[in-house]
Amino acid sequence: MESTEPEPSGSRPEEEEEEEEEEEEEEEEEDDGALSPPEQPLAAMEDCLAKKMEITVSEAEKRTGRNAMNIQETYTAYLIETRAVESQSEGQCAPVESLWRRYSEFELLRNYLSVTYPHIVVPPLPEKRLSADNMDPDFVERRRIGLENFLLRVASHPVLCQDKIFYAFLMQEGGWKEMVNETGFQLKADSRLKALNATFRVKNPDKRFTELKHYSDELQSVISHLLRVRARVADRLYGVYKVHGNYGRVFSEWSAIEKEMGDGLQSAGHHMDVYAASIDDILEEEEHYADQLKEYLFYAEALRAVCRKHELMQYDLEMAAQDLTSKKQQCEELATGTVRTFSLKGMTSKLFGQETPEQREAKIKVLEEQIQEGEEQLKSKNLEGRDFVKSAWADIERFKEQKNHDLKEALISYAVMQISMCKKGIQVWTNAKECFSKM
């Protein structure tokens, strides 16, 4: 009998997919009800929802309501506004449609997308902070921006933007939750335990995914560290600037007892006040940079999820192959009467007497059926696995491009911020110097 080994998944060459290419890839219809996403062609960039529709999360509002356990709670609702982008020639503005969603609904949407498109690096949501700060206006504002960013990311994704649940999230206020639940996506979700198991026991994962997982761990660690230190740096810088404000007061007091020096001191003191005050805007701008980094911190998690999915599928495959092999072996033993390997059954049958030929025939028949089923399953799992690797890697390449582009932009804007800060500093001190020169 031919041995069916799980196909090693590392042998496929990388396929690079440009976002601009219109790859009408038909994904095989898998009907085992397990992991297949809805059959969809990839949208070209021009067809992405983001291009056809303006999406904003424009407002945030405090609400009170009763939750599932009939307990009153306060939460924030966010207003999602959409408007179809009309072609230039028409010159008319389409009406704005809007609805309110709360954070938990965003979470539900994302969970749905993660489970339904496990091969896609699904854009992350902004932080889920459970502290009392949830009502803090700054936090709410940053979250609003983060949620808008999330929607835009999804709407710009060639695969995700075509999802009907996503579209309904944007357009259909009532009954959306029921609609999501009806897809039964929760059933498709992999258990955490299963995933963990797979990580440790998989034998032949695709090396690229192993490396990618390692990369995403490192990325998460380094961005985390960076954000922590940046926050400390910002705190210290704040201190430096603010202490200069004290010069303003003391120069003013000193100028009162001086005759010729007075004016120069006084006006220089004013510039010191300006200097001290300038740090507030500077640091606020920097928060935007921190948020850009944070998004990729969370993206690392999404990346890791795809890797884990691969491990899980590969493990599943390996287990199925192993199971098939053992069944074939059993069959062979029964057929030939030889015991190749030790088995309890074999021992017990030796002890308690042989089976009747009819019993043996029946057993062989059952096994043969199972083997056939198993072989078909293995074939489809192999195919699934290969397809997964292919489409996942395509999205990963897309993601890498996006990441490199976005982070470069973030670094540039950070450098521009620093340049602006330096120029302001030069300006203020030059003004102060002039005041001193008039002393």
Partner: protein, 434 residues
């Protein structure tokens, strides 16, 4: 007490005519002249405008306060005097460490260039240590009690906290000692002091120090103002104003000193964080392919900013803070001079009162009371002249100091600006192949 300190008069020391009588009413605005100067003296409109040296260029011995003529014989140097009209230049440089069995210490080279007749040679070069400067200052205070003597940098340093032999400390001290001597050089009276002369010229200063009192005779009457415990009823308004001014001035400088120290502290803490921040970008660069160069660039940039910040903090510590402290010390010693002046005036007033009570037939004022009066007048004149000069120098010193502080901050930001601007092209660079 004057609540709003009056601004100090900007026109030189008053002529004898304009000086108020010490016993005039407390709101002593400038009354009419109550003192009659000696008839053989010219009375210039303002002493400040006249060069009053004797024809042969030798200034009259000005340290004796006894004669009122000494008041007029003062060389008044304009602060904006050109270098060419100066005739005395002193520099402190070249610190050297000396290791002896008993101790280790630093000496500084004191170089003098002069055309003054008081000096035998046109040039001198001697080595002096801090002790010697300290000795000089004490001698000046003793011999010129009516004048404001510039301060020395702090004498004592806490061992273990400050390294007395570190380059930074020695350089800071050198600058302060140089400033000290230059201020004396610029002073029309102090620069002619004999002790100062010896300090600049003597090969063996220690031998001279031992002579001590012997030299005082050359300077005429002992100028010790031992005024056993006379208490002044009220300080004349203008000196009270000076006193108030110095009080507030010291306070404000103290505050500025604290603020500057705090800023340096905050900057150093900021630096600590920056030093950790930069390398994280580098670590990240190691993970990436396309982003590797940009991230390394940012890391290097932050490193450059760290260096610039370090330089700024060092400059502030070495150049800014010491000058502030110097002026605080100056103000303290000036207040002491004010107190001495009060004592002199108190003595005069007491003696005058004693005479008034006796009501003798002869209305003539006894000689020793007259001497006291002279002392008061001289003291007041010297002090006011010095205050004027001090105010002007103070203004220039602070102008320079604060402009310097602004400059250093500008340079810091310019260095950072250059660093960040230079990496923009690196960040925007598109790789050739994908």
């Amino acid at each position: 007490a004057a609540s709003a300190p009056k601004p100090l008069p900007s026109s030189g020391p008053k002529s004898l005519r304009e000086m108020p009588h010490p016993l005039a009413t407390s709101s002593s605005e400038e009354m009419g002249p109550t003192l009659t100067p000696s008839p053989d003296l010219l009375l210039p409109r303002s002493i400040a405008d006249k060069d009053l040296s004797l024809p042969n260029g030798t200034p009259v011995d000005t340290s004796s306060p006894a004669s009122s003529s000494s008041l007029l014989n003062r060389l008044q140097l304009d602060d904006d005097l050109d270098v060419e009209t100066r005739d005395l230049f002193v520099t402190v440089d070249d610190p050297k460490k000396h290791v002896c069995t008993m101790e280790t210490y630093i000496t500084y080279r004191v170089t003098t260039k002069t055309t003054r007749a008081e000096f035998d040679l046109p040039e001198y070069s001697v080595r002096r240590r801090y002790q010697d400067f300290d000795w000089l200052r004490n001698k000046l205070e003793e011999s010129q009690p009516t004048h404001l003597i510039p301060p020395l940098p702090e004498k004592f340093v806490v061992k273990g906290v400050v390294d007395r032999f570190s380059e930074e400390f020695v350089e800071t001290r050198r600058k302060a000692l140089d400033k000290f001597l230059k201020r004396i050089t610029d002073h029309p009276v102090l620069s002619f002091n004999d002790h100062f002369n010896v300090f600049l010229t003597a090969k063996d200063l220690n031998a001279y120090k031992k002579q001590g009192m012997a030299l005082l005779t050359k300077m005429g009457e002992s100028v010790k103002y031992v005024t056993g415990g006379y208490k002044l009823r009220s300080r004349p308004l203008e000196f009270a104003a000076i006193g108030d001014y110095l009080d507030t001035f010291s306070l404000k400088l103290g505050t500025i000193d604290r603020i500057a120290q705090r800023i340096i502290k905050e900057q150093l803490e900021y630096l600590v964080e920056l030093r950790e921040y930069g390398p994280v970008y580098s670590t990240w660069g190691g993970l990436e392919v396309e982003l590797s160069e940009p991230l390394e660039g940012v890391s290097a940039c932050i490193g450059n900013c760290c260096t610039a910040l370090e330089e700024l903090s060092e400059d502030m510590t070495e150049d800014f803070l010491p000058v502030l402290r110097e002026y605080i010390l100056y103000a303290e010693s000036m207040k002491n001079v004010l107190k001495k002046r009060d004592q002199v005036q108190a003595e005069y007033e007491a003696k005058l009162e004693a005479v008034a009570l006796k009501r003798e037939d002869r209305p003539k004022v006894p000689a020793d009371v007259e001497k006291c009066q002279d002392r008061v007048e001289c003291f007041n004149a010297d002090l006011k002249a010095d205050m004027e000069r001090w105010q002007n120098n103070k203004r220039q010193d602070f102008r320079q100091l604060l402009m310097g502080m602004a400059d250093k901050n500008i340079q810091y930001y310019e260095k950072c600006l250059t660093a960040w601007e230079s990496i923009i092209p690196l960040l925007q660079d598109k790789p050739e192949t994908k």
